[in-house]
């Protein structure tokens, strides 16, 4: 299919629907109401089918979109009311209520659909598209409707921005300020019903909930600030809508709804993996770097202390080379492990290596001195508190010293300028 007028109409319509769903979805997710869209979407089916039956029995065109969407809207509202009625007694939780409503309303729709198929008029024609979505059938006026709905939802969200924010983040504060959280929630539910119903023809009732959750969940991974989150969520929704519609325009047998949702899922997966602060890979990278840094400083400290134990300080006349095996024994490492660390630190220019022995370079000595100072500052501090015995202080200090900045170590020491002596004997660990 070429990028003709029809394709552009479909693209624009899906993008606008995605925009609306992304905007409303952000607030729905923050308020813990996102799955309401699932209930609304499924609940819409009997409404659509009944509307088609009514229209057909009055001799109208059962394919006309407005009455079908009106039916979906009524059924969606009924679904929301049913969820609220079920949860009122507190015996049935909201998750169960949503599952009950979405499954039994949908089942009613399925039963009605099977009844419609036995009717003489072709009333069932085109109803299947509401289940999985069929944006390809979108006409210019449908896209206009989508645009109108998107504009309406965005305007309402902007107008109610303060109230929605208060309801999402601090309902108690909102109550104190005299803003009725119940009324804000009602408005939010109304918006959810509207976008879920509007999204039906593009992505279908099974998947419409994804259009609310995926963009906003992606945005949440990327930012903490609400205005940014709204902007990101709305644009990701629009992008997912447009790209998904474009994909199914090129491959007409791909269902539009699935394509749109998969694009959204790809965005979400990328954010899950790569988001700078919360993403899995940056987090793993940070953790690995911390571990390497801690191991490095343990090695350098061991090298320093080996010199001290031999009665010489780095840079003094007695400065000498230390066997890697001695360092491995002091830390309780295996020799190959210690040798690999020596190789790594040699590459970083912190130690010099020769014949299984190492020697701290001036830069390495400075880093080692910082590590020793931090370690002993913590040790002496813990001992001064009487928090532990000498052996315990050594081990505890190993755990906490790495995040300790130099100024902090200075503040812990009685004589800031000096390097205190180790409280315990240096040498191989028992």
């Amino acid at each position: 299919m070429s990028f003709g007028y029809n394709t552009l109409v479909v693209l624009a319509g899906c993008a606008l629907l995605g925009l609306a769903c992304g905007t409303v979805g952000a607030f729905a997710l923050l308020r813990g109401r996102a799955l309401m869209a699932d209930a609304v979407g499924h609940a819409a089916l009997p409404g659509v089918v009944l509307a088609a039956m009514l229209v057909a029995s009055f001799g109208g065109n059962p394919r006309a979109l407005p009455p079908l969407l009106a039916g979906a809207l009524v059924a969606g509202v009924l679904g929301v009311l049913a969820v609220q009625a079920l949860t009122r007694g507190r015996r049935i939780r909201e998750d169960a209520a949503i599952a009950i409503v979405l499954s039994s309303f949908y089942a009613l729709g399925v039963a009605l659909l099977s009844y419609v198929q036995t009717m003489p008029q072709a009333a069932q024609a085109g109803l299947g598209k509401f289940i999985l979505g069929q944006a390809a059938g979108m006409r210019a006026e449908d896209a206009l409707w989508a645009g109108g709905i998107a504009a309406f939802c965005v305007l309402i969200c902007l107008a109610l921005f303060q109230r929605l924010r208060a309801a999402c983040f601090d309902p108690d504060y909102a109550r104190v300020m005299g803003l009725s959280v119940a009324r804000t929630d009602l408005a939010l539910l109304g918006l959810i019903v509207i976008v879920a119903v509007a999204g039906l023809q593009a992505v279908g009732l099974v998947l419409v909930v994804a259009l609310l959750i995926l963009p906003s969940a992606t945005a949440r991974l990327l930012t903490h600030r609400l205005p940014v989150l709204l902007l990101v969520s709305a644009s990701l929704g629009a992008l997912a809508g447009a790209l998904g519609a474009a994909a199914s325009a090129f491959q007409p047998e791909w269902p539009t709804g699935a394509a749109v949702v998969l694009v959204g899922a790809i965005f979400f997966t990328l954010a899950l993996l790569l988001a700078p602060e919360r993403g899995l890979l940056p987090e793993a990278w940070r953790r690995t770097r911390r571990r390497i840094a801690a191991t490095e400083s343990h090695f350098l400290r061991a090298a320093w202390e080996a010199q001290e134990a031999a009665g010489a300080g780095p840079g003094t006349a007695g400065d000498r080379w230390t066997p890697i095996a001695a360092l491995a024994a002091a830390r309780g490492w295996s020799e190959p492990h210690a040798a690999r660390l020596a190789l790594w630190l040699g590459l970083r220019g912190l130690v010099a290596r020769a014949d299984g022995e190492i020697h701290l370079t001036p830069r390495g000595a400075a880093a080692a001195r910082r590590a020793v100072r931090a370690h002993r500052a913590v040790e002496h501090h813990l001992l001064g508190l009487g928090a532990t015995d000498i052996a315990g202080a050594d081990r505890l200090a190993d755990l906490v010293e790495h995040g300790l900045p130099a100024e902090m170590a200075t503040r812990l020491l009685a004589e800031p300028s000096s390097l205190p002596a180790s409280p315990h004997a240096l040498g191989p660990r028992p």
Binding site: L35, I92, S103, L132, A217, E253, A259
Partner: protein, 311 residues
């Protein structure tokens, strides 16, 4: 309608409905008690790509590869939901919603990409359930019920459902006490050394197995309905654990039987020409019973209580 017609057309479908609904009703109580009802929704959607992949790899609509694929997809779904919940800091419902819709969308794409649709994997049976397509053409009369050769020709979905039902009922009986604790006091269960996470995983696996077994016969949506409706209705009426779990199973099975009868055989018996989608009718009935249980509960609590006389 003759007895042979009943045996050929209605018995297998009714049997499948009873088994699937009873099985889901049994497990549903645990989901409702643990406030995890949407897990059924999530898993019954998430198995789709696994089923399609199993079908695509073996190229046959054989039972085992599809079953294994579905179980793998369900496990991946459970794992991803907990991962998403932790990393994206979403509440569990939203995390499940993000994962299962993605899986379902992937499944829809796979159907097209692998050409499964053109062969014989019908999307309609996923979306609507195809109880009506289960037939037992070998039945010659009630004598066939005792004839091993004829019984072997029952639709394979029934054997699968029966096997899974027996295994899961056994597992529930074995884990009766630990599951009780897990539902009502998971912290205490963990404190006395029960492997709470292992139990949760076992429960998830059981729901996945039930969803997979019931999926093809009754459709994904009826799985959701039967996992939650009978259990929720019973929950409104009793506080007893035993009544909850066993009642859920019995009530589910009864709903399956009654719903199936209402959909086709009863209208036919009264001379009506139409037959409704049985899965749809059973699910609708499930919703009505929850509403009915709600009214019953209100009526009970509104009725004057006997006054306790002290002294």
């Amino acid at each position: 309608m003759t007895a042979v017609d009943f045996l050929r057309l209605d018995l297998p479908a009714m049997l499948a409905a009873i088994l699937a609904c009873g099985l889901c009703g049994l497990l549903g109580s645990f989901l409702v008690l643990r406030r995890d009802s949407l897990l059924g929704d999530a898993l019954s959607h998430a198995v789709l790509p696994g089923i399609i992949a199993g079908f695509a790899i073996t190229g046959a609509r054989a039972g085992l590869p599809m079953l294994l694929g579905a179980l793998a997809a369900a496990l991946a779904g459970v794992f991803l939901i907990s991962l998403v919940r932790r990393v994206a800091r979403l509440e569990s419902g939203a995390a499940a919603g993000a994962v299962f819709t993605s899986f379902f969308a992937l499944g829809l794409m796979l159907i097209e990409a692998t050409g499964a649709r053109s062969v014989d994997l019908d999307l309609d049976c996923v979306l609507f359930g195809q109880l009506e397509s289960l037939v037992w053409l070998e039945a010659q009369g009630f004598a066939s019920l005792l004839d091993p050769a004829a019984l072997a020709a029952l639709p394979r979905q029934i054997f699968l459902l029966a096997a899974v039902s027996i295994v899961l009922a056994g597992v529930v009986a074995l884990l009766w006490r630990p599951l009780h604790l897990l539902c009502f006091d998971p912290d205490y269960a963990a404190a006395i050394g029960l492997p709470a996470r292992g139990l949760e995983l076992a429960l998830n696996l059981m729901v996945a197995a039930a969803a997979v077994a019931a999926f093809e016969a009754v459709g994904s949506i009826l799985v959701v309905a039967m996992l939650v409706c009978p259990a929720a209705a019973i929950r409104l009426l009793t506080d007893s654990y035993r009544a909850q779990v066993l009642g859920g199973a019995a009530f589910g099975a009864a709903l399956g039987a009654v719903g199936y009868a209402l959909a086709g055989p009863l209208p036919a018996a009264f001379g009506q020409a139409f037959a409704l989608n049985a899965a749809g009718v059973i699910g609708t009935l499930g919703g009505f019973t929850v509403a009915g249980a709600m009214l019953l509960r209100q009526w009970r609590s509104a009725a004057p209580k006997p006054v306790a006389i002290s002294g």
